[in-house]
Amino acid sequence: MSFETPDSYVRAGNGITFTSEVRLELTKAVMEKGKPFRFSVFGSSMYPFIRDRHIITITPLPEGRPELGDVVAFVKPGVKKLFVHRVVRIGAGLFQLRGDNAKAPDGMVSRANIIGIVTRVEHNSSDVRAGLGRERRLVAVMSRHGLLWRITRVTGFLTTSVAAGLQKTRLDCQRGDSRE
């Protein structure tokens, strides 16, 4: 084997796609060092507050947290995958978690399954604060009762319908123009 040039020894890894299992492994390693960890998230389970490709910062869980409404990174027992959902109920030392856009909750998990807490959400270099402040408790209560999921469905349906209607109107106008 021969040596390569120094420039190629260390490669920036931000072009690498990491699986959720890898993301979990790295998040746990950074949390063990007591430091925050910043990375992109994928999926729509926390829509509209955290969206696909938003960047979140996970911080080690402080004493006394999580509280109702906190968005946390956690693992489901037996599943080697990192999830980021909201605490919607606390009872008997267990935490019920649920995606804001999820039809059903994740179930109850112990504090030991919670890796860290989301302290920052970013999109296009700007902070996204909605859903992380005092309103997070109200969001949690709405999510617990499935209201958030239903609202998202209705608004999504309305948005899609309006967009479809606009598209139809645009096509009709184009056909009308071409006939003239």
Binding site: M1, S2, F3, E4, T5, P6, S8, Y9, V10, R11, A12, G13, N14, I16, F18, V22, R23, E25, L26, A29, V30, K33, K35, P36, F37, R38, F39, S40, I55, T57
Partner: protein, 100 residues
């Protein structure tokens, strides 16, 4: 003079670097800025860089590391030590190692 200093120097891997082997690759997440940042600051080594990284144990000098690698790899005289110095300079710049 700077090259001599580096050759006799002993370097230690920083504790502010998280490393994990994932699918055969060594992934490094520096925490030197106070935060692990997968978006802007995550690295991997090639095989050569990894060999050097693992020898930076706080006991071996740069010259000793180069000698150890010369026993394993074919390379023109002096080239390996120059390359070791090169990667060490890069790791110092990224604050992943420090002088013991």
């Amino acid at each position: 003079m700077a090259a001599t200093i580096i050759s006799d120097s002993v370097f230690q891997r920083s504790e502010d670097v998280v490393t994990r082997e994932i699918m055969g690759e060594l992934i490094l997440v520096p925490l030197t800025s106070g935060i692990g940042d997968m978006e802007d600051e995550i690295y991997t080594f090639n095989e050569t860089g990894r060999a050097i990284w693992e020898l930076l144990d706080g006991r071996k000098s740069v010259r000793e590391i180069a000698r150890e690698l010369e026993a394993l790899y074919e390379s023109p005289d002096g080239e390996i030590e120059r390359d070791v110095q090169g990667i060490i300079a890069e790791l110092i710049r990224r604050r992943m190692i420090f002088v013991v």
